[in-house]
Symmetry: C2
Subunit: 264 residues, 2 copies
Amino acid sequence: MLKKRKAKTLRILVCNDDGIDAPGIYVLVQELKKIGTVTVVAPDKQQSAVGHAITMSYPLRMKEFRKDGKFFGYAVQGTPADCVKLAVRAILKRKPDLVVSGINHGSNTAISIIYSGTVSAATEGTILGIPSIAASVTTYGKVDFRFAAKFVRKLALRVVKKGLPDRTLLNVNIPPLKETDIRGVLVTRQGRSIWNDTFDTRRDPGNKEYFWLTGGLDEADIDLEFDQAAVRKDYISISPIQYDLTDYAMMDVLKRWNLNDLIH
Amino acid sequence: MLKKRKAKTLRILVCNDDGIDAPGIYVLVQELKKIGTVTVVAPDKQQSAVGHAITMSYPLRMKEFRKDGKFFGYAVQGTPADCVKLAVRAILKRKPDLVVSGINHGSNTAISIIYSGTVSAATEGTILGIPSIAASVTTYGKVDFRFAAKFVRKLALRVVKKGLPDRTLLNVNIPPLKETDIRGVLVTRQGRSIWNDTFDTRRDPGNKEYFWLTGGLDEADIDLEFDQAAVRKDYISISPIQYDLTDYAMMDVLKRWNLNDLIH
């Protein structure tokens, strides 16, 4: 019972980038309520591919959002990173024990991680000193989030028990399969697949040209050590990620470039 | 002469996040024209702190932008990353030899790198296989970009001569000083200073609450190995950065977490 009470005292902040009315966040919140007190602070509308954007030039506004006639959370006119900042710095009285972002409808693997609002919310949690998880189901098609949400609940407890390093979060990608069809969990690294972007060039009714981004992920990752390969092979992928972007090996190379010559 | 002709054949794509009409990009373009053919594709308005956002839900529109009565470049209703993607995938006939993003008015050091539109444009160049440089002058006050632009021109030539690794770009921060007051160039790593965000809570004329993000960088970086410390001590900081966010050390730890237990 002590254990149960202890778990129940967990304070969990939930965010996403699909918007506060998305099914993925709803199913996630139902699961996380089993292990703690959940506060939802999420964008009022879809914010996919916003990267780690924050809002500085405009004020943020926030509304209480109701679902099925009950208070569900705070809807913010802002980005996922805005939501987490606002929650931690202005809404919550105490720093939460955990930030969970998701469950995103669509993969956040390989290069997509750097465009991902889902990951950025969890990154912001990490920056603010809170263990954080980003979770996605790897399909854009119709999806049942229940297995993924259960998995994330169990992973959240594991994270609370084990802890995470100061500047590291977990990026979890779950295939849209039944529990019995999942082949296992793999600890992975960020894949190297990039988007083969193309722009669809069109003309509006006034004959003005516009461009629409399209294209898919080039599947460059074959080895199961990569997140994108793992999910394609029906594994749950968990990548520890961090936000020190320094290329340490290249520092030594650059030191031999005689860069002081460039000043004069 | 051959050398000069060779340099002149450089094709350089210039972007920024302060907007195509910002002084920093204008001064940069004047310098880069001395070494190559410059194409400017930049946001039509300020896009600071947009992170690595891209526009997928809306089409992109583009206009020719004139400065002093002459064609200066293409102004895109989009983010810095959008601009680079659109330039490389739809506007330019050939892939450019170099992407230069900036010159930003304000630092892009430490944690700010992950929020930075300036860096994201250069990152997008790198993703697309083009050696890329992000450049910033480290003040929000009044600034003369000329020394910084000259430095970036010389650095650009050095980058073309030496090359960069496939997934690495250079993030350059230049103090707002005269050439003679610059103490040197340091090769640095991303600092660990974060923002001590606070939200200014206000009420609008209709008595509705709104929040405005404010606060400054906590100066946690003392050692000159960090970008933020270097620029504060009047050095030009050059950090090689990359976008594989994997925390490799943590992968080994996670493999001992028995994560397969969490499926059932």
